[in-house]
């Protein structure tokens, strides 16, 4: 079984696959911690993330501002914490949309086959032709900045990866004798595919979606960096890197480097966790 090879990995990040379980545990812990922090951020953030204190602009770390202050005089730690919400919510939206829609498309294509398969497969391949970022930029330029438009655009751009994977898994699963055994018990194709085939392929799809989460985070941060993602005042990691540009030029890089670090660490953590799950699923199949 080649489940591991079916899952799409970006060449640059594929090297992070690991057999070291401690790294996996650390990454899983990091992801859990991050989610927890994002949830409780408004209550634990030391300052209002949008409170401007120009007097202490570009100040270094101090007791009142443990991670320093950015060029507009906003507390970096508070912005990082509150920014985690948008930075994680965006990719979550992308992943949920692309997974639900991708599984639906892939299941329909793989299970029914025939003209429906051709239609859906060609249709999703057409989406492949558009780079996800360009699609997102196009939609943002039409609808204006905001989180919904880029999330939907990236969701559509990520859909083919999930639907392709689902389709190939369904094709293999459909041939397994238990499917036939359910058929002769009088179950309809819809029942079998939803109640039995879907749970059997779910772990692989979830592994792919976890990996996709990291990619979506990079893409959304990139959009925010270009000023196309979230509205200007919203705390967001990509936006913070963009805002920190001027601070770097003034010789105070901390307010730009910290969100960069947050992005990189989060993406790596999600990738390690996803890859590990994918490898575990592949091992189980062998």
């Amino acid at each position: 079984m080649t489940t591991a090879t079916l899952i799409r990995r970006r060449p640059g990040l594929a090297g992070i696959r690991t057999d070291r379980s401690w790294l996996f545990r650390i990454c899983l812990g990091f992801v859990a911690l991050l989610v927890l922090l994002a949830i409780v951020a408004p209550w634990i953030a030391p300052h209002d993330p949008n409170a401007v204190d120009l007097g202490s602009a570009l100040a270094g770390p101090s007791g009142a501002h443990p991670a320093g202050v950015d060029a507009s005089g906003r507390d970096t730690l508070s912005r990082l914490l509150v920014g985690a919400r948008t930075s994680l919510l965006g990719p979550l939206g992308v992943v949920v949309f692309s997974t639900v829609a991708g599984v639906a498309v892939g299941l329909a294509a793989g299970w029914r086959g025939g003209w429906l398969d051709s239609l859906l497969s060609r249709g999703t391949e057409l989406v492949f032709a558009f780079p996800g970022m360009l699609l997102a930029i196009l939609i943002v330029s039409v609808y204006g900045p905001g989180l919904t438009a880029p999330v939907l655009a990236l969701g559509v751009a990520y859909l083919p990866y999930v639907s392709r994977l689902t389709r190939s898994l369904v094709l293999a699963e459909r041939e397994r004798p238990y499917v036939e055994a359910y058929r002769v018990q009088g179950h309809s194709g819809l029942q079998i595919s939803l109640r039995h085939v879907l749970p059997n392929i779910a772990p692989v799809v979830l592994a792919q979606s976890t990996i996709n989460f990291g990619y979506a985070l990079i893409d959304l941060a990139g959009l925010s960096f270009l000023g196309l993602g979230v509205p200007p005042l919203t705390p967001d990691w990509g936006r913070m890197v963009f805002d920190g540009e001027s601070a770097i030029q003034s010789g105070y890089p901390l307010s730009a480097i910290l969100p960069c670090l947050a992005i990189v660490m989060t993406v790596v953590a999600f990738n390690v966790v996803g890859e590990r799950w994918a490898d575990q699923v592949a091992r189980r199949d062998r």
Binding site: R176, P177, Y182, R183, V184, Q185, G186, H196, N200
Partner: protein, 340 residues
């Protein structure tokens, strides 16, 4: 086969299964995979369908539930309780599969969803397709498990926690859940070890009497077929070569293929030596067949065998159930078998 035989004595509108002139064409083959198969199973009767790999015995049993390979074109009639399976709409087909006919597969391990508990597997069909309440379905599952000799603790187990023999018992219980009139068993013992085989076969025989189902037992094991069945059909190259009451057919085979099959069965009592094998290969699906399909491998073959296909005709009289063989030279086999 040009002439179709008259319905057998056991046939009637009340037959559990009545296949008439079933012909099955698959894409990419030069001859029909099934070529005019006639087969009946009476209620409470056990019928064995014997043949080598590729003879079409599995396809015949699968066509009863219309489990046909993609692209297959079926002609003829497959009547289950008098209704033609090949003409059913999807709803009728699902009702047939839920209530009337059930199938037991070769490999029980592969035929179960590893993620579902046994209880779920047993009751799902009744709950979803027959709208039976969950408690009632579970009650029936417990009764069926009891009938196959398993306790109700199995309900909470996953397939991976049961042995192959236990799992095949579960499959039999699953087949009985819908109270079918016909059970199709497609080599149900091939994946099991020998002692478990005997248990499963004995169990099937018991249950057939207990629940009054007809049983079509597909196998390549002649000894098993002789032990379990009332009547036997021998298939070769998609046609019925010979059929008759089990005892008579194995004592006095009237088709050279049946005879050769019996000769190539290993026996513990027979003198040691090389096992007799049937020379040559079964006919390829890529070539059209003229005449008798067994002619190239048959030592009785003459010119007429390669020119004209033999009809399935009665070869012995005075039986309540007819003995038929499709051979031009079946009379010559009467003496030959005297030493058997």
């Amino acid at each position: 086969m040009s002439t179709t035989t008259e319905p057998h004595a056991s046939t009637g509108p009340d037959a559990a299964l009545d296949i008439r002139g079933l012909r099955l064409n698959l894409p990419g083959t030069a001859r029909p995979v099934l070529d005019g198969v006639d087969l009946t199973v009476a209620p409470r009767e056990t019928v064995a369908l014997v043949g080598e790999s590729g003879s079409g015995k599995s396809l015949t049993s699968r066509s009863v539930l219309r489990l046909l390979p993609p692209g297959a074109v079926a002609e003829g009639r497959v009547l289950v309780e008098g209704r033609d399976v090949l003409a059913m709409n999807p709803g009728e087909l699902r009702r047939l599969r839920t209530h009337t006919a059930a199938m037991i597969f070769q490999d029980p391990r592969a035929a179960t969803n590893p993620l579902r508990r046994i209880g779920d597997f047993l009751t799902e069909s009744l709950r979803l397709n027959a709208q039976v309440p969950a408690e009632e379905a579970t009650e029936r599952a417990v009764r069926m498990l009891d009938a196959v000799g398993l306790g109700d603790h199995v309900l909470r187990r996953y397939p991976g926690q049961l042995s192959g023999g236990m799992l095949q018992r579960v499959m039999i219980a699953a087949a009985l859940m819908g109270d079918p009139t016909l059970i199709l068993a497609d080599e149900p013992t091939t994946a099991l070890d020998v002692t478990t085989q005997a248990e499963v076969v004995g169990l099937l025989d018991d249950l057939r009497g207990q629940f009054g189902t007809g049983l079509l037992f597909v196998t390549h094991d002649l000894g098993l077929a002789a032990a379990i069945s009332d009547r036997v059909y021998v298939m070769y190259a998609g046609r019925i070569a010979e059929t008759g009451p089990a005892e008579e057919l194995f004592q006095r085979p009237r088709h050279p293929y049946t005879r050769a099959l019996l000769d190539s069965t290993p026996r513990l009592t027979a003198p040691r030596g090389r096992l007799a094998a049937i020379g040559g290969q079964p006919p390829s699906l890529r070539q059209e067949l003229t005449g008798c399909p067994f002619a190239p491998r048959c030592r009785l073959a003459t010119d007429v065998c390669t020119e004209r296909a033999p009809a399935l005709i009665p070869v012995a009289d005075g039986n309540p159930q007819p003995h038929l063989a499709a051979c031009h030279h079946s009379d010559q086999l009467t003496e030959v078998t005297a030493d058997a």
